[in-house]
Symmetry: C2
Subunit: 121 residues, 2 copies
């Protein structure tokens, strides 16, 4: 493995579909994924792992049973293992996700919005 | 653990010293650390882990035995486990580091620049 420059804007220019994370890097057994989101996702949790959201552009709401969290560009949050959450964004929002390789986007709530979780760009 | 908004600019405003990473978040057994860097670090490697650099502001050079990599804001790179590297920055640069909890900043080259690796802000 060599060390390459990974430019978020360049990577975001390579896809348009929403709620379909693309892998851009691997660190040990973790994947770094970019996603474009808009609208409402579904409630789900990841029973096996914490999940990190970093907002690259736009604004993201992470709905939690304990109350919503609002994130904008330059901000991040950690959703703990097993905690139910539902991401949403009024306008298109670009995010960086960090989680173990193989983590399913819909966690314990597999369904129509479940994306392939091994697509690299 | 609750989910909190972590704002990079707010966190960077809380310290001024160079080459002294501050922990801002934990995901499973990984730490997210902010650092302000300027000048030349030392050659070192991390025999046990990959290391991620994300540039929040400014420009970073990661010197590698195979050639240098230049990163600016909005870009990231993964330095693989065991690969010798030396970060440097001509002007003050603000970076986000992601690596396992307990990873020493100077890796296998402990010395004057070795920082405490458990300081949260």
């Amino acid at each position: 493995m060599t060390t390459q420059v990974i430019n978020f804007a360049d990577k975001f220019s390579q896809f348009t579909d929403l709620w379909s994370p693309r892998i851009i890097a691997q660190m040990n057994d973790y994947h770094f994924k970019l996603a474009k989101i808009q609208g409402e996702f579904i409630w789900h949790s990841h029973p096996e792992t914490d999940e990190v959201f970093i907002v690259i552009s736009g604004s993201l709401t992470i709905h939690l049973r304990a109350g919503d969290v609002q994130l904008k560009a330059g901000e991040m949050a950690v959703v703990p293992q097993g905690v139910e959450h539902k991401p949403s964004a009024e306008h298109e929002c670009h995010i960086l996700l960090i989680e173990p390789a193989g983590t399913r986007n819909t966690g314990d709530a597999e369904g129509d919005l479940t994306a392939e979780n091994d697509v690299w760009i």
